[in-house]
Every structure is written in structure tokens, then in C-alpha cells.
């Protein structure tokens, strides 16, 4: 049972949030997981998400925004259906990460933090995603793709464009 009337979340997520706040000695500890789940469901952290989470955790909206803005994985604008995150941190950089990034920019016709006109793809340059052993690497939504070459990137993008990838949102 949701403690919030007219929750903007699906009943499952709302129920999950109800449970989440009971897990920690201090309610606000649920803030970061809640933001992540909310982003997965809504696609980004909208003003409405901020408002409801603040209400759930007895926080001011300002508190939620303070935390939210700290984490680069949390976004306040919608991303594409497939959010392409290319790593250019040191291992990837040494193994051609920037080439991959440039290739994506060219291929998708968008830059860092931009979304294609059809809303299918968005692109981000990110720091290390923990796949250094197989650099260069990128992440599309929650899927990892490594040992990249420009040819491989083309194939990956086409797979998603054909709707075959996992659509997490």
C-alpha cells in the first residue's frame, strides 16, 4: 500500500519505495537508490519525481536536488531510448576511446549529453565504467560492450536501432 496518494510511479515501484524507506535507520538513506529506481522507471529525474521523493523521505526538494546533482549518473532531462555512454578514462583513452566517441558522435549526429531527433539514442562521454581490461568500452543502458572497434560500434548501434537491444526504461 502506497503511503502516497496519487503516486506518479507504477504500483510495483511505489510498493518498492514503501519498503525501501523501512530498511534504514534514517529515512533519507533511501534517497540514492530511490532516485536510481525512479530514473529507470521515468527515464529521468523529473520535477515530479523530486517532489514525490522529497515527500516520501520528509526532505525538502532542495535536499533532493543537492544529492541528485552530485551524481552524474542521475539526469534531470530525458535521455534517448538507448543511452550510449562511451568511456574515455585512461585505459580506454589509451586504447582509442576518443576515436570511439568521435565515431558515435558522427554516426548519431549528436554530441555529449544530446539526444537524436527521433529520441532513439542519446550519447554521453563518461568516466571509467569498470571494464578497463577490455578497453575501449561503452555501455548502452545497462549493457556493456567492450573491445570496441568502430566496425563493432556500427553493428551495436544497428542492433539497437532494429529494436533488438534491451530497453531498460
Amino acid at each position: 500500500m502506497s503511503t502516497i496518494t496519487n503516486s506518479i510511479f507504477t504500483p510495483e515501484t511505489a510498493a518498492r519505495f514503501d519498503h525501501l524507506v523501512t530498511l534504514y535507520p534514517v529515512k533519507r538513506s533511501a534517497l540514492v537508490p530511490m532516485l536510481l529506481y525512479a530514473q529507470d522507471e521515468v527515464g529521468y529525474v523529473s520535477d515530479a519525481v523530486v517532489a514525490e521523493i522529497a515527500q516520501r523521505l520528509d526532505l525538502l526538494e532542495l535536499d533532493v536536488r543537492n544529492v541528485l546533482s552530485y551524481y552524474s549518473m542521475l539526469r534531470t532531462k530525458p535521455a534517448g531510448r538507448y543511452n550510449v555512454q562511451v568511456c574515455t578514462n585512461i585505459s580506454c583513452m589509451l586504447r582509442g576511446g576518443y576515436e570511439i566517441l568521435d565515431h558515435c558522435k558522427h554516426k548519431l549526429g549528436i554530441g555529449h549529453k544530446e539526444v537524436t531527433a527521433d529520441g532513439v539514442f542519446s550519447l554521453e562521454e563518461v568516466e571509467c565504467i569498470g571494464a578497463c581490461c577490455w578497453a575501449p568500452a561503452m555501455q548502452v543502458n545497462y549493457d556493456f560492450h567492450d573491445n570496441l572497434t568502430t566496425v563493432k560500434v556500427d553493428e551495436i548501434i544497428e542492433t539497437y536501432r532494429a529494436g533488438k537491444g534491451k530497453d531498460v526504461k
Binding site: 526538494e61 532542495l62 536536488r65 543537492n66 552530485y70 552524474s72
Partner: protein, 791 residues
């Protein structure tokens, strides 16, 4: 806590265990630089400027978070420390615009001082600076991101100090930025804004020029102003404020209000009104020539001489033909004590009437009478900083007496004081309260009765009567209790509440009123039935020498009733707007000769036959008394050509009436020794002599316009006004307990709370552009566009 002894820079220091090293050093005269540390707020340790070397510690330690310990050996200035601080500064300056030449804080900036001290002149960064445009968060708060050093002082000040929590910190690393509580996405103009109490405490706490004041920014430089310390003219708390003044072609303009040296009774605090609402003084709408109404109804500008002559002649004529009892006198809540005293003395001795009153905002007569014969039972405002337990019945300090609310929050936060709140509304201070009792509508009287032992009053006292018992037990269990009373409680209710409080041996009381000298107006006898010091008119005691009519006079409402009935020949209004305040029908005054001393053409002034342009509290000297009875010195800061102080005008009118001015103002007394300024080697002797004379009230008062001559008389005659002149002169507050006689007959209750909040201040507030802007802003109007220094 027990004392510990330790060594700092080779000097032995003793301080209580648990003291922060930075504070202990400061008390011992060793200054450790600090950006993020702010006494009384939580520790942040964000800036690393306060690093010191402590023996046996592996690294440099932050003095702002280290508590002193026995045998500690500390060095505060060594080449290693200097290097560390310099490196910190270089990092801070890496992204700082160094626009000191145009920055408001230039000359008063902690970063500038430290950069100078440590010579951190070069930056090793080649990256472009991370520039952001300045932001207009509200009409009074502006933010310049590039100057911010991320010390978090503002965030803590607003959250912990103000209990508003309007500021946060967003993003991360070098992009981190202080953010206000209205996000751009939620604001009609897509810019970030502040929805808050607009107190400016964040600006005050900011060590640099990142937060700047809408009133002062880009107006002048700190060293181009004269700084005058005086008392805020707005609410009844009486904060000490420093006004920055600059000469103009027609006087001296006030450009800034702030809390410069924090030496006052208000400590760190100033609210929105104290900080910004000085601007009525600079208003173009001020009256600057005396005006006399002509037979055709027009107001004609005349010379001062003519105005005083007409006023004096007319008053004399009306007194002599229709009697003093046909004249009414109404004084204001922002007069000095000396003016209030002089006004009632003028009324009673020159006009021969007790028809004297003022807009009463709290029932001080009952308050002092209920405490008659008690000693040490009235609280000073200072007590709100440290009392272990406080009960507030009625009132809403957050809005009506913001300084009181600040002190109470600090007392709870820093001293773990126990706060008990009983109110009909859920006032904000309940958030700090250990217990909140919601009083039933109009239930203060029942509550007072219940507290005083009348169990049958319970059902009308609280919304939830079952909560009463526990509340009463908790309050009664306190040994030292400060009882703050709102103006809702008057007459019998107030008396009963005080009687209950007196059963607690360690209880002290204060009654909150609305304006800078509301308390002084009552203490000084601007009342029809009370002489100064609550001396009843029929038994004048020390005032026998004034030969005052022995019948109490008409109160404020009766004065207007008399006017409507055609029985009021003249009305003399000094710094008050009763016509608007009491909704007086202008027709009531058609047969009355009205003299008004005012700054603006108020509703009352519009009906006047003579308008005399008056100076305000920031343009005169004297003293005022806050709600608690703490007397403080008022000093002249601003000046406007064409206006005169109320004091001078009263004396001049008396003179034109042919009264004996020396009897009215006892000047010309005091020692007239050779002041010997030219005695060469001995001249210092003469100066010291003059200081001694002044301290002992013996300096010559050479002018009939010298308020100190009246202060002498106040001190001589008003029961309980034993003040130390030297305390006053050195800018300290003094708590006074007027020694009232016990109550006689019951009186009519004429208290009319002003209903002022954070952004209003009676008639005066209407003429403050800053207050009007803030009101409009808080009501949701879009902000005016930002102007930058370059425009």
C-alpha cells in the same frame, strides 16, 4: 568542564576541556585564519585555512575541529603552515575572478585579507576560469558564483541559524555551486530564486563577496562610508545596527544597514527590516518644508519660524480659551525615550492636559503592575540567549520579533534549552519546542486561568484539553523559566499568567510589543492615566513638582470621540498615524486644529492644519527601550536638510507658546568649568575631566535641544530608571525595571497589535522600497532584470 593547560606558539594557555583550539587561541589573542568556521554553527572543516601543527600528530590538523587537550603543544605560524595556507589560497583563487576592484566585499573580505597576508599572488592553473553569471535570487539577495569559496557558511547559517534551509550545495568538485530553493525549472523566468525569510544572514556570514545585498551592491566602497552604530527602528527587539552613511547634497544618505561589529545585544543577528528597511529615510516622498493650511484648504510651504509661530499662537489661544482638557496629544512608538518623556511633560505642564496616549501594542501597564514590588523578575533580551527553559504564550517571534526567535533557536541548539510553546497557531518556533500546546481559538484567557489553578477553564484553553496536564507539569517542573508573553495577553489574563509564573521561584517575564520604542512610550508615560514609570496620575509622587492636572485624561479613542462631538479644540500628533491605524473618520477632525510632526503625508498628516517635517530615529540621538526593558543609545546617522527632530520641534512650539523652556528642558545646568582645551601640556587633563563629567552626568547641557538634559530628569524622577551613563555611552544595553505601583482601578484595554510581519513595519514600512519589493516578490511577481557592475 575542567580546565586543561596547553602550549601555543610557546605561550601557556588554559581553557576548559572541550573548547575548540581555534576559539581557545582567539581568547588568548592568537588569531588563526578560518573561512568555513563560524562560531555557533556546526563544524564543516571545508577550507583547511586553519591548519596548525600539533606535536605528535602525523599531519597538520584543523584548529576549527580540534578540541584542546592537556599538554598539547601547538604551533600556528611556521613556514610549513604558511606554505599549506598559501597552497589552499592558490587553489581557491584558481577559479576566483579576483574582481576586488568592483566587488562589494573589497576592503572587508576575508579572502582578500588572507591573500594579502600569505602573498598567494600566482595561480598555477592554465585552464580557463569557470565563469557563471551573477544571479538575482531575490530583491535582496544576489549571488556571484565565481567569488564563492564553498565554505558552506551560508548553507549552515540559513539552515541551523534561521531554520529556513533555503540554501543547498549542488553539483560536485569545481562545478559545485550554492543553490537556492527554487530550482530554475520551477521558476517562471527559468532562473534560480529564493523563497525564504530574506534576512540576509547568509550575506552577512559570507566571508567573501559571493552573496551580496540588493540594497547595497555596487553602491559604494566600505571605506567611503561613515559607520554609525545605532538601534534598528523597526520591531520591539531593538537590534544594534551599523548604518553606513555617505554625504549627499542635502544631508547624509544611508547606504547600508548591517551588523558590522556584532557587539550588540543582538549578537550575530539582523533581520530583513534591520538590514534593508532603512531606505524610507532616503525617500523622495519625504516632507521637507513646514506646511500650513490656508483658508482655501491648500497646504502652503512656509518658513520654520512662521510654522512654529502659528502653531504656538494657536495652541496657546485654544488652551486659554477652551482649556487644556480640550487638547489631545498622541505620540509615536519610534520616538526616543527623551522625546516621549518631553512630549508628555509638554502636554501635562504646558498644555495642561492628561489627554496623552500612543498606539499601544502591548499592555505594559498591567505587566509592570503585576510585577510591582518584585525585583529581578523581568527578563532582559540577553536572557533569551541562555535561559535553560523558555515558555512562550501567544505571540509569534519568528514574524513579530525575529531577533527573539533567533536567540531562542540558538539557545535550543547551543545550550539544549527546553522550549515550551502555547499558541493558537502552529507558529514556526514549535519546531524547536519540546512541547507545543495548541491553544483553543481566543483561549489565552482560559489558558491563563487554567495555569493559575482553575481546572474548569481547561475545556476552553486548549484544542486538546487532555494535553494540558502534561504541559503544565513540564512547565512547573522548571526551576529557571523565562516566560515570554505575546500581546494577545492583556489585563486580567496577563495578570493571571504572571501570578502563575510568580509561583515558579526562578521565573522571569517579558512582554513582547511591536516597535522600536513601544516600551519606551509606555515607560515614559505617553498614557492618559500614567505618568512616567507607571506612576498613577492621581498620586504623582516624584512628579508632584510638575503640577500636573490630577484627573486622568482621555485615551486615544476618547480623544477622537471628543473630536467627533466637537469638544476637541486641538490635536497634536507626533510621529504617529492614528487615523489609518484606528480607522478614524476624517470628518471627526473637521472642527479640530491639528498639528502633525511627520516624515510623510500619511492619512493623519493629510488632515493636519500644520505639518512639521520630522526626522526619523536614524536621524537623531537619544535612547530607546526594547520590549524587554533594555535601554540602548541611539545615534544620529542619516540627515536630511529641511527636517527637524521631534525633540527640537516640541521645545520650539513650547517656546512660541510662551512657556518657560528652562522648566521644560532643564538645560544650562551642570559644571561650567574652564574646559581648557588650550592648556598645552595639560590639555589631556582637561579631556579626561570632560570624560569624567560626562560619565557622571555633570557635563554642561548648553542647549534646550540636548536630549541628555531630559535624560537627566528621567533618571532623577522616573522610578526604577537607574541607569549608568557610562554603560550607555559605551554602546551597551542596560536592563531597567520600572518600579510601578500596584494596580488600582481596572483600566480600559486599548492594545491594538500592529499585525506586522517580517516584511511590514506599520506606516513607516509602506515608505520603504525594499520592503515593498520583498513583499511583491514573496507574493510571486517576477523579478526585475539583473544589473551588473558594468552597466
Amino acid at each position: 568542564m575542567a580546565d586543561v593547560t596547553f602550549t601555543v606558539d610557546g605561550k601557556q594557555i588554559t581553557a576548559p576541556a572541550g573548547t575548540l583550539l581555534i576559539d581557545a587561541c582567539k581568547s588568548a589573542g592568537i588569531e588563526i585564519p578560518a573561512f568555513c568556521y563560524y562560531p555557533g554553527l556546526s563544524l564543516q572543516a571545508a577550507c583547511r585555512m586553519c591548519v596548525v601543527r600539533i606535536e605528535k600528530m602525523p599531519k597538520l590538523a584543523t584548529a576549527c575541529t580540534t578540541t584542546v587537550a592537556e599538554g598539547m603543544v601547538v604551533a600556528t605560524e611556521t613556514p610549513e603552515i604558511t606554505q599549506a595556507r598559501k597552497a589552499t589560497l592558490q587553489l581557491l583563487l584558481g577559479n576566483h575572478p579576483l574582481d576586488c576592484p568592483v566587488c562589494d566585499a573589497g576592503g572587508e573580505c576575508e579572502l582578500q585579507d588572507m591573500t594579502f597576508k600569505y602573498g598567494a599572488a600566482d595561480s598555477f592553473y592554465t585552464e580557463p576560469k569557470n565563469h557563471r553569471e551573477e544571479q538575482n535570487w531575490s530583491p535582496v539577495v544576489y549571488f556571484d558564483r565565481p567569488r564563492c569559496i564553498l565554505c558552506y557558511r551560508c548553507v549552515r547559517m540559513c539552515g541551523e541559524g534561521m531554520d529556513v534551509f533555503a540554501l543547498g550545495i549542488q553539483n560536485r568538485g569545481s562545478s559545485a555551486v550554492i543553490a537556492p530553493n527554487i530550482a530554475p525549472s520551477l521558476s517562471p523566468d527559468n532562473l534560480a530564486h529564493l523563497d525564504c525569510e530574506q534576512c540576509g544572514m547568509c550575506i552577512d556570514a559570507c566571508p567573501v563577496g559571493a552573496l551580496t545585498s540588493g540594497a547595497y551592491r555596487y553602491k559604494t566602497r566600505p571605506w567611503e562610508m561613515n559607520h554609525v552604530t545605532t538601534v534598528c527602528t523597526h520591531c520591539g527587539d531593538g537590534c544594534k545596527t551599523t548604518l553606513g552613511v555617505r554625504s549627499t547634497s542635502d544631508g547624509a544618505e544611508i547606504v547600508r544597514g548591517d551588523n558590522r561589529d556584532k557587539s550588540g545585544i543582538n549578537g550575530d543577528f539582523l533581520c530583513n527590516k534591520g538590514r534593508y528597511a532603512f531606505d524610507f529615510a532616503n525617500s523622495q516622498e519625504r516632507i521637507t518644508t513646514p506646511l500650513v493650511r490656508q483658508p482655501n484648504g491648500d497646504l502652503k510651504p512656509v518658513s520654520w519660524e512662521e510654522a512654529f509661530t502659528v502653531a504656538g499662537k494657536k495652541l496657546r489661544e485654544l488652551r486659554d480659551t477652551r482649556g487644556g482638557k480640550s487638547i489631545g496629544v498622541i505620540g509615536g512608538n519610534r520616538l526616543t525615550n527623551e522625546e516621549a518623556y518631553l512630549l508628555q511633560k509638554f502636554a501635562r505642564t504646558v498644555l495642561g492636559t492628561n489627554n496623552v496616549d500612543h498606539h499601544r501594542t502591548a499592555d505594559y501597564v498591567t505587566f509592570t503592575q503585576a510585577l510591582a514590588g518584585q525585583k529581578g523578575r523581568t527578563a532582559s533580551w540577553n536572557d533569551t540567549k541562555s535561559y535553560p527553559a523558555v515558555l512562550i504564550v501567544g505571540g509569534d517571534p519568528t514574524n513579530q520579533a525575529p531577533g527573539t526567535a533567533w536567540n531562542l533557536r540558538s539557545d535550543v541548539r547551543l545550550n539544549k534549552a527546553r522550549l515550551y510553546v502555547a499558541n493558537t497557531s502552529e507558529i514556526k518556533l514549535r519546531r524547536q519546542a519540546r512541547a507545543f500546546l495548541q491553544v483553543a481559538p481566543f483561549g489565552y484567557g482560559a489558558l491563563a486561568g487554567y495555569l493559575a489553578g482553575d481546572a474548569s477553564a481547561a475545556s476552553n484553553a486548549a484544542l486538546d484539553p487532555t494535553a494540558l496536564g502534561g504541559f503544565l507539569e513540564a512547565v512547573k517542573g522548571e526551576e529557571k523559566l523565562l516566560i515570554l508573553i505575546g500581546s494577545e495577553l492583556r489585563g486580567a489574563d496577563l495578570k493571571r499568567l504572571i501570578e502563575f509564573g510568580l509561583t515558579i521561584p526562578g521565573a522571569k517575564f517579558a512582554l513582547l510589543s511591536d516597535y522600536a520604542n513601544s516600551r519606551g512610550a509606555a515607560d515614559m508615560g505617553l498614557l492618559p492615566d500614567m505618568l512616567p514609570g507607571y506612576t498613577p496620575v492621581p498620586t504623582p509622587g516624584p512628579f508632584t513638582e510638575h503640577n500636573i492636572p490630577s484627573e486622568p485624561g482621555l485615551d486615544l479613542l476618547e480623544i477622537f470621540d471628543a473630536a467627533a462631538a466637537g469638544n476637541l479644540s486641538a490635536l497634536y500628533v507626533v510621529n504617529s498615524n492614528p487615523v489609518a491605524r484606528y480607522g478614524v473618520d476624517p470628518a471627526a477632525l473637521k472642527d479640530t486644529f491639528v498639528i502633525v510632526q511627520e516624515m510623510f503625508l500619511t492619512e493623519t498628516a493629510q488632515l493636519a492644519d500644520i505639518i512639521l517635517p520630522a526626522a526619523n530615529l536614524y536621524e537623531k540621538s537619544g535612547s530607546v527601550t526594547n520590549s524587554y526593558g533594555d535601554l540602548q543609545l541611539v545615534q544620529k546617522a542619516g540627515d536630511r536638510s529641511g527636517v527637524r527632530s521631534d525633540f527640537e520641534m516640541i521645545v520650539r512650539i513650547a517656546d512660541k507658546m510662551g512657556a518657560d523652556v528652562k522648566a521644560l528642558v532643564p538645560f544650562g545646568k551642570g559644571l561650567r568649568a574652564d574646559m581648557g582645551q588650550s592648556r598645552g601640556a595639560q590639555s589631556g587633563e582637561a579631556d579626561r575631566h570632560a570624560v569624567w563629567l560626562t560619565a557622571n552626568n555633570l557635563e554642561p547641557k548648553l542647549s534646550p535641544f540636548d536630549p541628555w538634559a531630559i535624560l537627566d530628569e528621567i533618571q532623577r524622577l522616573v522610578p526604577g530608571y537607574d541607569l549608568l551613563r557610562l554603560q550607555l555611552l559605551s554602546g551597551n544595553d542596560q536592563h531597567l525595571e520600572p518600579a510601578a505601583a500596584a494596580a488600582t482601578a481596572s483600566r480600559r484595554d486599548l492594545v491594538l497589535p500592529s499585525g506586522d510581519g517580517l516584511f511590514t513595519s506599520g506606516t513607516l514600512g509602506r515608505f520603504s522600497p525594499a520592503l515593498n519589493d520583498v513583499q511583491r516578490y514573496q507574493a510571486g511577481e517576477p523579478l526585475i532584470q539583473i544589473q551588473t557592475a558594468a552597466d
